[in-house]
Symmetry: C2
DNA sequence: TTATGTGCAAAACATTTGCAGGAGT
DNA sequence: ACTCCTGCAAATGTTTTGCACATAA
């Protein structure tokens, strides 16, 4: 990420970004906190929130406002869509081509100045659907 | 909405649904609470949450898990997409044809059992963009 | 050196829940 | 009557914030 003149390259910031880049699981702030804490045991949860927010603002990472109670974070900033398991809450990427054209369509029919769009599929992941079968059998 | 045998037709339930049907603004639970309270001043916020949740489960209304900190509710249950103003948080319907086919595509390429999808556009509403112009002028 | 960042703890918000009394069927 | 539901208040979970100290530049 590029650090603006007044934005300092701190250890906390580097490690948060490094840890987020290691995973593809779209962790919540708390999950990032747990990951980072293994390397920086004294880091505060507030610092994690502040930095994730800051990086999302500068565009270094993505803040995912998907369903569920917690926001999630993604180091992959190229546009892509997501799928969320309604049973366990897990969020995965889904490899469907991004529709660049629908933003133009939206701009034509709406009063809004369009900035973009996001698609969230919902479903049941394979882990959850197999554990459901077990429950039915038992 | 249809009430199941064990689900009672209470005054609170009726009025919450009536009030939600009066608006197209996708109110938050708190906004519904304020609307309903004008007719039922002693209703509790917990009752509003419980009933909105229940109606969303039975499919009588939609619970919108859009961006922002609060969930929103919609009495229009036919599939449709939304647009959210990143400045004021307002959520409007956007009249773009629902893509029924992409659920099939998603089912083919993913391990998930697909239940559906939702598209959320983000942008700046006309009110917010005109107030921004004023700020620039002043 | 000095503005920016951090750790800690408290506060703020949104939502859920336990329980005693109330109401629909 | 017998459940289910409600109001109230307390609890919970997530995110934000104030402040004194630390640290990058």
């Amino acid at each position: 990420m590029q650090f603006t003149p007044q934005m300092r390259l701190t250890t906390q910031r580097q490690i948060i970004l490094e840890e987020l880049r290691k995973v593809t699981s779209h962790p919540t702030a708390n999950e990032v906190y747990d990951m980072v804490r293994k390397r920086l045991p004294r880091i505060g949860l507030g610092t994690v929130y502040r930095n994730l927010e800051l990086m999302a603002e500068t565009g270094a990472i993505l803040k995912l406002e998907v369903g569920g109670t917690q926001k999630r974070f993604d180091a992959t900033t190229a546009p892509h869509y997501h799928i969320r398991c309604i049973s366990c809450g897990k969020v995965d990427d889904i490899d469907i081509p991004v529709m660049t054209d629908i933003d133009k369509t939206a701009a034509e029919i709406s009063q809004y100045q369009i900035l973009g769009h996001h698609i969230e599929f919902s479903g049941v992941c394979s882990t959850c659907s197999s554990s459901k079968e077990e429950t039915l059998v038992n």
